[in-house]
């Protein structure tokens, strides 16, 4: 692609065009930063990039890779290399090496696709950048939806379907705070899709709430699903739910560690979402407590209280311990066992 370059280490442009080849490749040359129009972000696809590493590297070695530019009427337009340009600027560099295409040499869409491939190959895109990219492909570069789904979603490592595309297009409309949350927490596509189901205000409030808890993806999913389902079932807003005084007290309780706060929030939401199951679990805990079993005996209800089989598990290290465990179990009163078995409150044979 590159026609031919002479030099490339000096401050002045010393490029010589080759006249005997008819290709349309770019020129490699040194350009002044002042000649580049940074405000033109037609091909930009970075969202709040962390430039620290690149800056450190550039301090020692300079900017090694040329940026890609296209000539405009007055200045040069960046196709690929916004981060390198920004670093160069912060390091007060005056020139950068660049591949430069002529004004009519390369169309917008091709230039964007090249930049996209360049970025995918070099660093990959975060979720917000993927959203920006998809939106640009559709609305700025006129790529058809079907082609975006079929070709570009897989390139961005996304499932090629309408729902995924729609979720990402919604991300573009998210507020900056929410985008920052998605980016900084590396939120997964599944959870983004869940978040996209909330209103703009709810999303904003949710992200403020979630930012106070450092949670993994699975717990985030559980919390979002519980919030959504409770709100729908009870006809209340998610904002009201997360503003609940009990949740607020939990979050501001300095005696609780981060993981303890997360557990407390999960418990609160689970009780709200599954009140009857929680009630049964509470009854079970009470019955078990009243039995006063030693720690080496564990008693468990059937999963989700489905069926009538309780499970007793015990451990021992000697004949004496074994006999002690059996003795304890034998001594359990009829009443306490009866209470446990009647936990679901059925009145058998009433019909």
């Amino acid at each position: 692609m590159v026609r031919r370059t002479v030099g490339g280490t000096g401050q002045k442009s010393r490029t010589k065009r080759t006249q005997n080849r008819g290709d349309e490749g770019p020129l490699l040359q040194w350009v002044k930063l002042a000649e580049i129009d940074r405000s033109d972000e037609l091909f930009a696809m970075s969202f709040e990039p962390d430039l620290a590493l690149l800056r450190e590297s550039a301090k020692h070695m300079g900017i090694l890779e040329p940026i890609w530019l296209r000539r405009k009427a007055v200045k040069l337009q960046i196709i690929h290399g916004f981060r390198r340009f920004d670093v160069a600027q912060t390091l007060k560099m005056r020139t950068l090496r660049a591949l430069i295409w002529g004004k009519d040499q390369i169309g917008d869409r091709i230039a964007f696709e090249m930049a996209l491939h360049g970025n995918i190959a070099a660093r990959g895109l975060n979720v917000v950048e993927k959203a920006m990219t998809l939106e640009k492909l559709l609305s700025r570069f006129g790529v058809m939806r079907d082609e975006v789904i079929r070709t570009w979603l897989p390139l961005l490592n996304l499932d090629p379907n309408e729902k995924v595309l729609n979720s990402f297009l919604l991300v573009k409309t998210f507020s900056l705070d929410v985008k920052r949350y998605l980016h900084s927490h590396g939120v997964s596509l599944n959870n983004i899709m869940l978040l996209s189901e909330f209103s703009r205000e709810e999303r904003q409030r949710l992200c403020r709430f979630l930012s106070r808890l450092r949670i993994g993806e699975n717990v985030l999913r559980e919390i979002l699903i519980h919030l959504r389902e409770i709100a729908r079932r009870d006809g209340i807003g998610v904002t009201d739910l997360v503003s609940n005084s009990r949740i607020q007290r939990l979050l501001s309780n300095n005696r609780l560690s981060g993981p303890q706060k997360i557990e407390a929030v999960r418990k609160f939401l689970k009780e709200k979402r599954y009140p009857r199951l929680s009630e049964l679990e509470g009854k079970f805990r009470l019955c078990k407590k009243r039995m006063g079993l030693p720690p080496q005996i564990e008693i468990a209800p059937p999963p989700f209280f489905e069926g009538d089989r309780f499970k007793v598990q015990f451990h021992f290290g000697s004949q004496r311990e074994y006999e002690a465990v059996l003795g304890t179990l034998n001594k359990l009163s009829k009443k306490s066992v009866g209470n446990l078995l009647a936990i679901k409150g059925y009145r058998d044979g009433t019909v």
Binding site: P275, R276, F305, K344, V351
Partner: protein, 381 residues
């Protein structure tokens, strides 16, 4: 006369946008009759199920659009099966006639959405093979009543105006002792059944829910009243009637809705002509949850307290189910304490909690059914 009736009704089947005709049945007489009744609907000849699957996969919304495609084919292999039941639960032993799969109605909770590989409404035209198989099955010595129906993978009557399977099936069962054909439906147009000679061996049964649930969850289905009118017509024509309260759907207002429904039903039907009533709570495999969320975002059925049971399917918390069953039975018994009520796909402990006894096993429930069928038919003569 009947032909005129069929022709007028056939126009109501215009929901089909395309017919996929398996080349294996291109010369089949029943397939040709169906095509005739759907005159005007484009026909595409296809090469077997795999071809249809490829077509289905290319659809944007296979489950929704599949309901507007009709695949006419021939069933290979056995056409009389047995309900697979579900692990750890007591099943009624209903046998299945594989004549159709999928359904033109669109209930949010329908398990077929995740159960069937092929989302296209499919009709197997080789009814004569099925009849041969029935002959063979019923010629074997058997002590149980041979209770069977095409209501497992489709609605028994939704496509009957096109297929006219019921006419031959009802006639066959009318002539065979110790057999019962159960046509399970949500459909309401039953006029064509009324003059068939059934000999009391065909049960026409309705899946019923309160009107509010029909509107919210049972899309493209007749209303409760339309279904009850159909049931009444069949009862007047001497058919034993079955009622299926399945799925029962729980919410804060369920009691009022279901009690009203029970009372309404028996304003239309004579309880003495009801051979059985089944009850089953909402249940579905976890994989269906995603389908419901995608296809029916307004549905509220997923907001209940649903947990996996021994078979992995999600069901309401056991005490919720028991409470619903107990109340339903008390309302039913208030109307007629002799009605035969059973639970569909429930566990032994739930039976015990609801009735105070349990059939203990699928075999036990089949025995109860045998007794009920024989007693009912004896008393109806």
């Amino acid at each position: 006369m009947l032909e005129t009736y069929w022709r007028s009704k056939a126009t109501e089947m215009e929901r089909f946008e395309r017919i996929l005709l398996d080349k294996a049945v291109a010369d089949d007489e029943r397939a040709r009759s169906i095509l005739l009744r759907l005159g005007g609907v484009p026909v595409e000849t296809v090469d077997g199920t795999s071809h249809v699957l490829r077509i289905a996969q290319s659809l944007k919304d296979p489950l929704g659009q599949g309901k507007r495609l009709l695949f006419l084919s021939s069933h290979k292999g056995r056409m009389v099966g047995i309900c697979p039941g579900t692990s750890g639960h007591i099943c009624c032993g209903y046998r299945i006639l594989d004549l159709m799969s999928n359904c033109p109605m669109d209930c949010s909770y329908c398990v077929l959405q995740s159960y069937l590989n092929n989302p296209v409404v499919t009709v197997f035209t080789n009814l004569s093979d099925l009849i041969d198989e029935l002959e063979m099955e019923t010629n074997r010595p058997h002590s149980s009543v041979f209770r069977v129906g095409p209501g497992e993978l489709s609605d028994s009557l939704a496509l009957d105006e096109l297929t006219r399977f019921s006419e031959e099936l009802i006639a066959w069962f009318a002539d065979h002792r110790d057999t019962v054909l159960e046509l399970k439906t949500k459909h309401s147009r039953v006029d064509h059944l009324l003059n068939f000679r059934h000999n009391g061996r065909t049960v026409v049964s309705w899946s019923l829910n309160p009107q509010a649930i029909i509107e919210a969850e049972e899309h493209d289905t007749p209303s409760l009243i339309e279904r009850l009118k159909g049931a009444r017509m069949c009862q007047d024509a001497g058919y034993p009637i079955g009622l299926h309260f399945d799925p029962l759907i729980f919410d804060d207002y369920w009691e009022k809705k279901y009690q009203e429904m029970v009372n309404r039903i028996f304003q239309f039907l004579d309880s003495k002509g009801v051979i059985w009533i089944s009850m089953g709570s909402l249940r579905f495999p976890p994989s269906l949850k995603r389908v419901i969320e995608d296809r029916f975002p307004e549905s509220r059925i997923l907001l209940g307290e649903l947990f996996p049971g021994k078979d992995g399917k999600l069901r309401y918390l056991e005490p919720i189910r028991v409470g619903m069953f107990q109340k339903m039975i008390s309302w039913i018994r208030d109307i007629d304490s002799t009605l035969f009520v059973y639970l569909c796909m429930e566990t032994h402990p739930v039976w015990k909690a609801v009735f105070g006894w349990s059939p203990n096993s699928t075999e036990g429930l089949i025995e109860l059914f045998d007794r009920r069928c024989r007693d009912f038919m004896r008393s109806s003569r």
